[in-house]
């Protein structure tokens, strides 16, 4: 059977390639989006390698989570462009996430047990990012009429919002079944991998639109 972990990893170079292709863009969120893609590629590659080596990869995801939250907050804050309202929202979300992250860090690395995924931080961070995406979409559509077939920012917001909203319950279930029913947990993880591919597929589309919309220099 085709390993979805590899397919999931393969979706990242496509999105990253489209990002590089759209490098003429003047959109403020182009840089944080690329940063997040590079971090994702590095983290997912490292996590997959550790999985093949049959070693725990939680530490990779825990570190990546922090950087991903930072880059995605920067990206969402810059859509349609950085504004006092988006900065205020980011300033509210970042400390909240950092508080939960710090709390989980102190709980897990302060105990003798092997550290696990900072699950609560992931849930809180994902929810905050989804919320910021919806508010960014609100700012975007309030500015003027938007055509989804010609607006890259919508696809970037959709990728963030849809993934974190729908993957949350799956990850809760994965965590729940990780010890009791590993096969079921892997099936759910595969579904999460499908959502992951959908997310980066949307980013790929967004970057294609961005390239189409970017002014070409002579």
């Amino acid at each position: 059977m085709l390993d979805l972990s590899i397919l999931k990893l393969l979706s990242l170079p496509f999105a990253l390639g489209a990002w590089w292709w759209a490098r003429r863009s003047t959109a403020g969120w182009w840089l944080p989006a690329g940063l997040q893609l590079m971090l994702a590629l590095a983290a997912e590659s490292a996590a997959l390698w550790l999985k093949w080596e049959q070693r725990p990869n939680h530490a990779v995801y825990n570190g990546y989570m922090l950087l991903e939250f930072a880059s995605l907050t920067w990206m969402v804050m810059s859509i349609p462009r950085p504004s006092p309202a988006s900065r205020r929202l980011a300033l509210l979300c970042v400390p909240l996430f950092l508080a939960v992250y710090g709390w989980q860090w102190s709980l897990q690395y302060g105990s003798d047990e092997a550290p696990e995924l900072f699950f609560l931080a992931l849930m809180v961070g994902g929810t905050l990012l989804a919320l910021q995406s919806i508010l960014a979409l609100h700012r975007l559509v309030e500015e003027g009429p938007v055509n989804p077939a010609g607006n890259a920012a919508i696809w970037m917001l959709a990728s963030t919002c849809l993934y974190f909203i729908s993957a949350g319950p799956l990850l809760v279930a994965v965590l729940h079944f990780a010890r009791s029913d590993e096969q079921l947990a892997n099936t759910l993880l595969d579904l999460n991998n499908l959502l992951f591919m959908l997310r980066y597929g949307l980013i790929f589309l967004g970057m294609l639109f961005l390239e189409r919309l970017s002014p070409r220099s002579a």
């Binding site: 979409l137 559509v141 938007v146 959709a158 909203i165 729908s166 993957a167 319950p169 279930a173 959502l195």
Partner: protein, 264 residues
């Protein structure tokens, strides 16, 4: 519940959330686009209403001015002519030669001429036959004759002659500016420049004492000039400073550059 049931429920919840979030995105975009369309339509309606109001106001102003012009030319002019003829017929030559009577007769002649000229300039029917540049030339000659200051008319271009109602109102605004200059500025020379700025553009500058527009009392004169120009989709711009004279510019609004009149 068995683990499989829980897993199925979780998948259903995930898919439902995915669908709901997608629907939220689509609804937000759709409703915002509809709202923007509605706002654009409302703005378009307001613009049309505004244009219609301006057109009606322009027609009303034009009609009033035409009526006034006819009244001045026909009735007042007629009365003054009767007075002029009556005096000439009934006063003997010696009385007519008397200095005060002679001055009064001259003032009456001048008054009659002015009333007729004003009547002609207000009557829109006359503007159908008369080009604005030609009217400006005649006005410049008349102002020179008054011997109050030097008047220089510079015609840099020959733009298409505006429609009659535009010509009437523009000429009235021009007269208002000239009248203000003669009364208040103490200018020694006035320069009138005609240009083509996607329609006839007019600049009137003087070398008088000028004033500070920021501190000047916005009397009905300045307001009238701007309002009248607005009616014909012209922009009236005033540049003035104490000791540096005063310049009025009348430019057609690009979106409403006047069409040439059939005769123009």
């Amino acid at each position: 519940m068995s683990p499989d049931d829980i897993a199925v429920s979780v998948v259903v919840v995930s898919v439902t959330l995915l669908v709901l979030a997608s629907a939220l995105f689509i609804i937000m975009i759709g409703s915002a686009n509809r709202r923007h369309r509605h706002r654009a339509e409302m703005a378009e309606l307001h613009l049309r209403r505004d244009q219609e109001l301006r057109r009606v106001e322009r027609e009303a102003a034009g009609y009033t001015m035409s009526q006034m012009g006819r009244e001045l030319h026909d009735n007042v002019g007629q009365l003054l002519t009767v007075a002029q003829l009556g005096l000439r017929d009934h006063l003997d030559t010696a009385t007519q030669q008397h200095m005060r009577v002679h001055t009064a007769m001259e003032a009456l002649d001048l008054g009659l001429e002015e009333v007729r000229r004003l009547g002609r300039s207000l009557n829109q029917d006359n503007w159908q036959r008369r080009a604005l540049v030609e009217a400006l030339e005649q006005e410049a000659v008349r102002l020179e004759r008054l011997d109050k200051c030097r008047v220089l008319l510079v015609i840099n271009a020959h733009p298409a002659d505006p429609p009659a109602d535009v010509k009437t109102i523009l000429f009235r605004a021009f007269q208002e500016v000239i009248s203000n200059t003669l009364r208040h500025s103490g200018a020694r020379s006035i320069t009138i420049t005609v240009d083509d700025q996607e329609g006839l553009a007019l600049r009137i500058s003087d070398d008088g004492r000028g004033f500070d527009p920021a501190t000047a009392v916005q009397g009905s004169g300045l307001h009238n000039i701007r309002h009248r120009c607005g009616l014909i989709h012209y922009t009236a711009t005033l540049v003035a400073a104490p000791g540096e004279g005063c310049t009025w510019t009348f430019n057609p609004h690009p979106a409403h550059a006047p069409q040439s009149s059939p005769g123009g």
